[in-house]
């Protein structure tokens, strides 16, 4: 009952004209940017972040959330129409979405994606409304030891479970933690690694790192990828309403995808890509239509889209209630909140309940807007994809430049973005995923602070992390995950060696 009352109050906040407008703008811009191939939700949020500095915290968060799930939805449009995932999590949608488009069923695939995203989004919102207060209540008992352990678990989970080599992922997290120490130490006031540059005394701005690593880095990659013009195929978009049989076949997969996505999204460090992949794998096992998977099965579009969008909503649970982001995009949300002086954690629900419940209610409105916006706009997105990329990317570069420059009206920030952009590109070349780096950077200062507090309270006894029940359990789970990371790395290597042996034969 209390949850319903709080949700009702949140709905009133979300329905305020300003918040409604920013939700609409966020969803629209997010979808618009997400549609562009190679530009994910991370880059979309990075580009929008400087604009939100001029807004009220609730409006800003509602707009960022709108951009986030708008971009996640937009990513599926590029996946279905061009076989180029707009976001990593929508890569699973390519498997059946693109074959559907090739069969002339692009309209139905896009419609299914919109309906599944809506269903997943609503399921995720319900899970968040029910689960977040309970988790926040539990987290109120947390001390510095438990916080340190939960941050450690989140970071290791994000790097060990994410795509790519887990050892490289953990290295990226640690590098991010190190970069987070640049600037003035808040405890002692001493400058660390500023090299005498006054602009670095406050540390490196989160937006600069995000814009550089994700915005600029992804742009450099996407120029060549989009130069081929491989997506200029002729597809019939006019027919998009599914038949009765198709409606029937997508209903159960949407429910299953929403359930799996809601659960996985709520775990720190997993994210939508894992949610989509697991949901697709499960559906492939249980679906009566499993033989069609990979050849244009409607279930193959419905399941990952529902899982992806429900995970997008439930990813806010650990982010807001524990202050531990499950993904790099969520790390940006934490960064944005901190810029307003709002510290995410269990107190958020007590101290800023309007903001929290306003955000939850905005998910409902945002998902309805996504549906209303996207079904009639399918034609517009298709036309947008026909604009040559050569006109797009110089414009995006300018948006990045202006966004970074507007932070402090200082060109030093633009130079720093250039450096991080190049570093981001080189990281991709060397097969280092940049997302864990950002997580480490955001959580580094918090982790250091909790470590110092825990050591002070325990009078220098480091075993306190193992002897306290909650932190001990969390550290044990972290150790298991690390063991899994090593096992996974060995397994990946064996698979590669086997593959190369078969190729040589």
């Amino acid at each position: 009952m209390e949850t319903l009352t709080s949700f009702g109050n949140g709905l009133l906040v979300a329905l305020e004209p300003a918040n409604l407008l920013y939700c609409f703008v966020g969803v629209f811009l997010g979808t618009f940017i997400g549609v562009l191939p190679g530009i994910g939700s991370m880059a979309a949020i990075s580009m929008i972040l400087p604009l939100t500095f001029y807004l009220e915290p609730t409006s800003a968060l509602v707009m960022i959330a709108g951009v986030y799930y708008g971009a996640e939805y937009g990513g599926s449009i590029a996946s279905i129409l061009m076989n180029i995932p707009g976001t990593p999590s929508s890569s699973i949608t390519c498997i059946d979405g693109y074959p559907m488009a090739r069969e002339g069923r692009a309209g139905i695939a896009l419609f299914t994606s919109a309906i599944a995203s809506f269903g997943g989004g609503i399921a995720g919102m319900i899970v968040m409304a029910l689960l977040a207060p309970a988790l926040a209540g539990l987290a109120l008992n947390f001390g510095p030891t438990e916080y340190f352990a939960v941050i450690l678990l989140g970071l290791v989970a994000a790097s060990a479970v994410s795509n790519g080599n887990p050892i490289k992922g953990i290295a990226m997290v640690v590098a991010g933690l190190m970069l987070g120490t640049v600037g003035v130490d808040i405890t002692t006031g001493a400058e660390r690694f500023t090299m005498g540059i006054p602009e670095l005394r406050d540390g490196v701005h989160l937006v600069i790192i995000a814009m550089g690593l994700f915005g600029v880095g992804e742009l450099i990659v996407s120029i060549r990828a989009n130069a081929s013009g491989a997506h200029q195929n002729e597809i019939d978009y006019a027919k998009f309403y599914p038949t009765k049989a198709e409606w029937k076949s997508m209903f159960a997969p949407i429910l299953r995808g929403s359930g799996i996505g809601s659960f996985i999204g709520a775990l720190p460090g997993t994210g939508q890509t894992v949610a989509s992949a697991v949901a697709y794998a499960v559906e492939k096992k249980v679906s009566p239509n499993r033989a069609r998977f990979g050849k244009g099965a409607i279930e193959g579009v419905a399941v990952p889209e529902a899982a992806n969008n429900s995970a997008t909503q439930t990813a806010f649970i650990p982010t807001l209630t524990l202050g531990v982001p499950g993904s790099a995009s969520m790390a940006l949300v934490i960064g944005a909140l901190m810029m307003y002086g709002i510290v995410p954690g269990p107190r958020l629900l007590v101290d800023h309940s309007d903001l929290f419940w306003g955000l939850v209610a905005s998910f409902l409105i945002g998902n309805v807007l996504l549906l209303i916006l996207n079904i009639p706009l399918i034609g517009l997105w298709v036309r947008l994809l026909k604009i040559p990329y050569r006109y797009m990317y110089p414009t995006i570069i300018v948006l990045i430049c202006v966004g970074v420059y507007s932070l402090n009206n200082n060109v030093f920030d633009v130079w720093l973005t250039l450096v991080f952009g190049w570093v981001g590109y080189l990281m991709r070349l060397f097969r280092f995923e940049p997302a864990p780096f950002l997580l480490g950077f955001v959580l580094g200062p918090m982790m250091e602070e909790q470590l110092r507090r825990a050591m002070l309270l325990s009078r220098g006894d480091a075993t306190v992390f193992l002897t306290r029940p909650i932190s001990g359990t969390l550290i044990a789970i972290t150790a298991l995950l690390l063991a899994y990371a090593v096992y996974s790395a060995v397994k990946q290597r064996r698979a590669r060696l086997n593959a190369s042996a078969i190729t040589e034969q």
Binding site: I167, I170, A171, M178, T187, F193, V216, Y393, C401, V411
Partner: protein, 162 residues
């Protein structure tokens, strides 16, 4: 040498296979970074276990990163990652565009700065001729003027030094 510069991910001996030493450069870069933080952290002071000093966290993370870097280097040398051919033209054009923006926006203003940034960014694209690049640059510059200065009211100068 010429081949290394143009296709540095591929070995000179065996076309198609990534050069093992170059593939390990990523891990080596992280190793150097970790050493900088370890040395810097020691200079800042480690403090005591009860009161961790300013340099303690950088040293702890630096040591962990150094160990991980060695593991990454060993792994990349043992079996090199998949071949990736770098796109240096886009790399330098996009970097150049950011540099042009940084050099011009405070000197000649937002509108000319954006114009030059767009023209620089579009240089690697040969399908768009110079008249097209100039028209695109002018269009984006005018749109930025209208949006960022006119509508949002950001405190930028549209033109400077003219």
């Amino acid at each position: 040498m010429k081949q290394l510069l143009s296709r540095p991910w591929r070995s000179a001996e065996k076309d198609g296979a990534p050069h093992p030493y170059l593939a390990a450069l990523g891990g080596a870069g992280f190793l150097v970074l970790s050493l900088i933080f370890i040395v810097g952290g020691f200079e800042l002071g480690l403090g005591s276990p009860r009161r961790l000093g300013t340099g303690a966290f950088p040293v702890i993370t630096g040591i962990i990163l150094a160990i991980l870097s060695l593991a990454v280097i060993a792994a990349d040398l043992r079996d090199t990652p998949d071949t990736v051919i770098p796109d240096w033209i886009s790399f330098f054009a996009i970097g150049g565009a950011l540099a042009v923006f940084a050099l011009t926006v405070g000197r000649i203003g937002l509108v000319p700065g954006v114009f030059l940034t767009v023209v620089t960014a579009s240089l690697p694209d040969r399908s768009l001729g110079f008249p097209g690049k100039f028209i695109l640059g002018a269009g984006v510059a005018l749109a930025c003027w209208g949006l960022f200065i006119g509508v949002i009211g950001l405190p930028f100068d549209a033109f400077m030094g003219f």
